[in-house]
């Protein structure tokens, strides 16, 4: 759906990368200064390529020197700051892109977008009177209502506080599913990427460092504090007395703090490798209630004091556990061995699921 091959010098920084993305969300992930925003600008046409090409949905937008200007690309952009036009009402901001969209290309209707984003009561207001979260919701709607071929989101939640983020992230999820627009999403927040993305492209110093599914990419980190597993499951019936919610997975329930949402909703749980302990027998007399069964698929980490044990959970998901090399030796954690993975519920972040 989208094919990107960018070679570009930007001052003393240069981009040299290629990746492709399909339907759904392709996340560009990496530290600040890795070139994520520059890639967004290049795809949007705000900068010119020195060489390479950009193809979206079969249309060539840039190809070795030829450059389609931004207003003819039909690519929507949601920036970190909402960038609403201050002299226009929310309604006029929402309709702005539609003005320039050929009639035949107007696939996305106003009402469902306004409903999904919950901005119907803001239509007559001026942007300056909206809160940051409201502004960003309007910016999402505005980009969407131009019926773009592709939606670029450049850290759309970075300028918002935690509460606003939790409110808008599910909206982006809904937009992704309901309006079937491919999205390129820039972020340096693992939670956002793991939750939204079908594919993650990790950038480092203007190059692609790794790419793959969120589960594969985040498990492949080298620093043990950055190794994160993504385990998929569905929300189960919550325990109201203790305010806990189970995520049912084939390997067993993962207990989350708080009441996470409607029963049956598919979720992805992020588990840091350093929050996982291993046991050969189903433990008894422990405070930990999340016990997942699986087998050791491999051990990596060499001669250092800690190693990473890669578990194949029942059901097929992978889970990485960071343990000392001594434990690995003493428990004889070798491929094929059945183990139980213990995850502290208190360590799990219930927000990103």
């Amino acid at each position: 759906m989208i094919d990107v091959d960018i070679r570009q010098r930007l001052g003393d920084f240069s981009l040299d990368l290629r990746f492709s993305g399909g339907a759904g969300v392709t996340a560009l992930f990496g530290p600040s200064g890795s070139g994520k925003s520059s890639v967004i600008k290049a795809i949007a046409g705000l900068t010119r390529l020195d060489a390479g090409r950009i193809v979206v949905g079969g249309t060539v937008l840039a190809n070795d020197g030829r450059h389609t200007p931004p207003h003819r690309r039909r690519i929507g952009v949601v920036f970190q700051e909402a960038r609403l036009l201050p002299h226009l009402s929310v309604r006029s901001n929402l309709r702005y892109g539609r003005l320039f969209t050929p009639r035949a290309e107007r696939r996305i209707a106003e009402e469902p977008v306004i409903d999904t984003l919950g901005i119907g009561h803001l239509l007559a207001r001026r942007p300056a009177t909206l809160s940051g979260g409201e502004q960003q919701r309007v910016a999402l709607g505005r980009a969407l209502l131009a019926s773009p071929r592709l939606l670029l989101m450049d850290e759309p939640l970075a300028a918002l506080d935690e509460a606003r983020r939790r409110e808008i992230l599910p909206l982006i999820e809904t937009l992704r599913d309901e309006f079937a627009i491919p999205i390129v999403y820039v972020s340096h927040a693992v939670e956002e990427v793991a939750r939204l993305a079908a594919k993650v492209v990790v950038l480092d110093a203007g190059k692609v460092a790794r790419e793959g599914s969120p589960a594969d990419v985040f498990r492949a980190a080298t620093d043990r504090f950055e190794i994160i597993s993504v385990v998929a499951g569905r929300l189960g019936a919550p325990d109201h007395d203790f305010r806990l919610t189970p995520v049912e997975t084939a390997a067993g329930p993962i207990w989350l703090n708080g009441l996470a949402g409607p029963v049956g909703r598919p979720v992805r749980v992020l588990v840091h490798a350093t929050d996982v302990a291993l046991s050969l027998a189903r433990p008894d007399g422990l405070s930990i209630r999340t016990v997942l069964s699986g087998t050791v698929a491999g051990v990596s980490g060499g001669d250092g004091p800690t190693v990473t044990v890669d578990l194949a959970l029942e059901g097929g998901d992978r889970l990485a556990a960071s343990v000392t090399r001594r434990s690995a030796v003493e428990l004889d954690l070798t491929p094929g061995r059945s183990v139980f993975a213990l995850v502290k519920a208190a360590a799990l972040d219930e927000r990103p699921v």
Binding site: H71, V77, R83, L85, F100, A143, A146
Partner: protein, 229 residues
């Protein structure tokens, strides 16, 4: 307060006409030039900026003389306009308009340029990603957002045109009913025995009009800014 003579009233009316027409012509021209200077990248930009501002530092009589040489009936541009279109500026009130536009242009351009430069380029980029071409973005984003500066520039330019003297009298002389503006009328009165009263009264009128325009400019700019925030 002494009564104003019919001749004085005619000078006031003429000044208003000249200043109003000069503002109507000057503001679009100034807006185009300001946009070029604020957003354009081209060789000779500093030179263009200098030429626009030249009337601010030249003796006004030099500007008027240059206009006479260029736009007079025998001047290269003046002769062409006269022969091709029958347009004559020299010694006509329309020439006073030309002189006023040239003299007011630097301050109008300056006010508009500052407000265009204050428009966030990122908003123009956002407009582009929504499908608006450069022209559409200018009219829908840049222009409305720089409206305070354009209004302020227009009123300042109007005030400047109202009081223009040196270039006007050099280019179009001081013909009662045709080119005798307030400033020229004050000059004439001050050179006439017993003209002191008229000169003083007209000076007071000029001061009041100028002050009113300055206050209006400030209020308009403030109101337009308020409407945006």
């Amino acid at each position: 307060m002494p009564e104003l003579s019919p001749a004085a009233w005619s000078a006031i009316a003429l000044s208003f006409k000249v200043a109003a027409v000069a503002t109507l012509w000057g503001v679009p021209v100034a807006t185009a030039l300001a946009l070029l200077l604020a957003r354009g990248h081209f060789p000779g930009k500093a030179l263009l900026d200098g030429i626009i501002h030249l009337p601010l530092v030249l003796p006004p009589v030099v500007t008027g003389y240059a206009l006479l040489l260029l736009l007079g009936r025998k001047g290269p541009i003046g002769a062409f306009l006269d022969q091709q279109f029958g347009i004559v500026f020299a010694f006509r009130w329309t020439g006073a308009v030309v002189a006023a536009v040239v003299m007011a242009l630097p301050i109008i351009v300056r006010a508009i340029r500052l407000s265009i430069e204050a428009v966030d380029v990122r908003l123009e980029q956002a407009s582009g990603t929504l499908g608006a071409g450069r022209l559409a973005t200018f009219f829908l984003v840049t222009l409305p957002l720089s409206l305070p500066g354009i209004l302020a520039g227009a009123t300042l330019g109007f005030a400047k045109a109202l009081g223009e003297f040196g270039a006007t009298i050099t280019f179009v002389s001081n013909i009662p009913g045709e080119t005798r503006t307030i400033a020229s009328a004050i000059y004439t009165a001050s050179q006439t025995p017993d003209g002191d009263a008229e000169a003083l009264t007209l000076s007071a009128v000029a001061a009041v009009l100028g002050l009113a325009a300055l206050v209006a400019s400030e209020l308009l700019a403030r109101r337009a800014r308020g409407a945006l925030s």
